[in-house]
Amino acid sequence: MNKINRRAFMKKAIYLGAGLIAVGGLGGGWKVVERTVVQPEAPGNSPKREPGHSQDSAQWFTFAELATIKALASVIVPSDGNGPGAAEVDVAGQIDRLVAGTPRRQELYRVGMAAINGVAVQQYQREFAELSVKEQLELFSVVDGASQVMGKEPVSILDKASRKIRFLYYYRWLGVTPAAVGFCNSLVLDVKEKFYSSQLAWTWLGYEGPPFPLGYLSKPDKCPILKA
């Protein structure tokens, strides 16, 4: 297995990031580094879990998994000088309960977390939750970049070639897997839903909702036109 340390990992990203702007510049001199990728278990092979399945678990996640989700959620909605983040409203705990009650998500999350940790171990020799915040951001950016390779049909030959190169870069060279990408895409939506449904987020953003049972009770006195 070719191990790539963190510095090499980022150098590759910078090199290819620049190269992708001028796709032709990569030419045939670039070699795909064969990598061993942690393969998720095939669907259906996962052990059955009951909510609160052991003393080492929350509702659904093991504590180790919960730590992974906490770290990921804080990457997606960080607590910073701009305002509160996922940690302040226990988004990870909410997602734990969500997954416990949603069989469809259980497999997605279990396989996805293994996949993202697999990428982390390959690149940094540690699992995602053990990485520094900077490393977590780097890794999540890579997975996000990989997700953008997929999707809409290419609009030109150049676009097609660019995608092919980016695909090789993310999926073959950096070891990102479709499972990691699918999981992160779903997690972004789940984290956003939990955070932006919270009173804390609403207060931060100046929203009074939800509108029922009585509608918005305060007066719309901030409207600039009404003030005028």
């Binding site: 999540f140 932006y196 509608g215």
Partner: protein, 538 residues
């Protein structure tokens, strides 16, 4: 029909579909003393229980409310054309009024004579004046709110009575847009809304929750299920059968419609006989049922001797633009529809296209979660965007008149079947030359209006077939059986006791939301059916 029920069931009228057309017919016919069975393919929604708008995450969950049929294959369709077709509607008691934003303007006088005035489309076989009393009746059933005097649209057609309830207060985003409209000499006013501003028909007034399109939990929005349906069922003569899919209208030896064969919720087939039938599925489902009802007498589909069932299918030209303002707008307050501008409604001879459009203010989906899900990205940058966008956004959307074109049509897909084994609809609708030219002009107008209003950034969503959710034509009305499917009373030319009660009968699509016109026509059609019963013609 091997497993049909043995008991022969007979009523005066069977209505297929329970939306803005069928629901209105049910009430009018029931109150006139006729026995009515309504077959509705969707379920009956309970606003208190089913609508999720009291939940913290309502902005993410509402879509599931109206888009989770018992069997996901129920709503399958296919589409042709270069851009495909986005077909969306609500199936249930109340139809798409459950999710409409309750924008209920009337058609303009010129809409009924586009051929005469502008040399495009076709003239309707009736006039605005013919329909005006029915518009008024529907407005009073729904408690439509609207502006009057100097606050009213200068382009509004004449009306015999004022709006039943006063207009909603102008929202903050609309006020901001009004300053741009004023600079351009345009007239942005509050639009007619089927959302009473005071208690109406035993329902409480609107509380400004701003979730009209997600289902109104307090029943303040005048959807058909909380207005016409209770009155229909109160007659004791109207029965609404939910989760029932009609698959064929049969014809007797005399050439009259005889029965409807339908599937109930368990897939069991039934046959119900009646003296008259009203098909009101919408402009896609209605031609689909007629085409599925082909027989030896009507080999090309029921009531299709003209060959026009499914043809001249129309959508509205919905071009939209979202904008961000530096001011705090609180766009979630009040109805989702924030007003309209009709300055470009009529044909302008200086344009390269005929007819025009209405511009509507769209206050919807500005809640934090809706913005978060709509704004791609994550991390600190996404948070910065959220702080910048939430409370500062508003949208504009247009209802542009798509001219009828025989190439735009609904047909039966030759291969795809739904969960009951019935052919799914295949929809072809493409913007033609006039439509494309209008869309370009609309884009320029939206940009000019938002710029004049002080928007700091704008984002255009180009026209895409079907996105207006307004589906019309496909069984057009006319006096000549060779060029129309129904006569001026919405009875099919070929089958005298078969009526069409939805937007399928529209000859042209106008440039306003179609619900009020569908309901007004259904009222008029019902009146004709009742008279025909009384005269012994049915």
């Amino acid at each position: 029909m091997a497993n049909l029920q043995p008991i022969k069931e007979q009523v005066d009228v069977v209505i297929i579909g329970c939306g803005a057309g069928g629901g209105v017919c049910a009430k009018e016919l029931g109150e006139a003393g006729l026995s009515v069975v309504v077959l509705e393919v969707g379920k009956r929604f309970n606003p208190t229980i089913d609508y999720q708008t009291d939940k913290a995450n309502f902005a993410a969950k509402w879509w599931e409310v109206f888009n989770k049929p018992e069997d996901s294959r129920r709503d399958h369709y296919t589409s042709g054309g270069a851009q495909g077709f986005h077909y969306w509607r609500v199936k249930g008691v109340g139809g798409s009024t459950l999710a409409y934003w309750a924008v209920t303007p009337r058609f303009h006088e010129s809409d009924f004579r586009t051929r005469t005035e502008d040399g495009v489309g076709e003239d309707w076989p009736l006039t605005y004046q013919d329909l005006e009393p029915y518009y008024t009746r529907v407005e009073y059933e729904l408690g439509v709110s609207g502006p009057s005097g100097s606050e009213a649209s200068p382009f509004e057609p004449p009306r015999s009575k004022p709006f039943p309830t006063p207009a909603h207060e102008i929202s903050c985003p609309t006020r901001v847009l009004q300053r741009g409209a004023a600079k351009l000499g345009l007239h942005l006013v509050q639009c007619p809304l089927a959302i009473p501003t005071r208690s109406w028909g035993g329902r409480a007034a609107c509380i400004g929750a701003g979730v009209c399109g997600l289902g109104c939990k307090v029943r303040a929005k005048s959807s058909i299920d909380v207005t016409y349906i209770p009155k229909a069922e109160a007659t004791g003569r109207v029965e609404i059968r939910t989760l029932c899919q009609a698959r064929e209208i049969t014809v007797g030896e005399g050439g009259k419609a005889r029965s409807v064969v339908y599937f109930d919720s368990t897939g069991q087939e039934h046959e119900i006989f009646a003296r008259a039938f009203v098909v009101a599925g919408n402009a896609v489902e209605t031609p689909r049922l007629l085409l599925m009802s082909a027989s030896s007498r009507f080999p090309n589909g029921l009531a299709n001797s003209s060959g026009l069932v499914g043809k001249y299918f129309m959508d509205h030209l919905n071009v939209s633009m979202s904008a961000v303002f530096s001011e705090w707008l609180e766009p979630w307050r009040g109805p989702m529809a924030g007003g309209h501008l009709e300055d470009f409604y009529a044909t302008d001879k200086r344009n390269s296209f005929a007819r025009g459009w209405t511009t509507e203010v769209n206050n919807g989906h500005q809640w934090p979660l809706a913005v978060a899900l709509g704004e791609r990205g994550w991390g600190a940058e996404h948070k910065r965007q959220m702080k910048r966008l939430v409370g500062h956004g508003v949208g504009l959307a247009t209802v542009g008149e798509q001219l009828p074109d025989i190439r735009n049509q609904v047909m039966l897909d030759p291969a795809q079947k739904d969960h009951l084994g019935l052919p799914v609809p295949r929809i072809i609708n493409e913007p033609r030359d006039n439509d494309q030219a209008m869309c370009k002009a609309i884009e320029q107008h939206l940009h000019a209006l938002l710029s004049a209003s002080g928007a700091t950034e704008v984002s255009l969503t180009e026209y895409g077939p079907g996105r207006s959710l307004h589906y019309m034509g496909s069984c057009r009305m006319g006096k000549d059986p060779r060029t129309a499917v129904v006569n001026p009373w919405c009875a099919t030319h070929d089958v005298s006791n078969l009526f069409i009660g939805d937007g399928s009968v529209f000859v042209t699509g106008a440039a306003v939301n179609p619900t009020l016109t569908i309901a007004a026509l259904a009222t008029r059609t019902s009146e004709h059916i009742v008279m025909a019963f009384k005269r012994g013609e049915i």
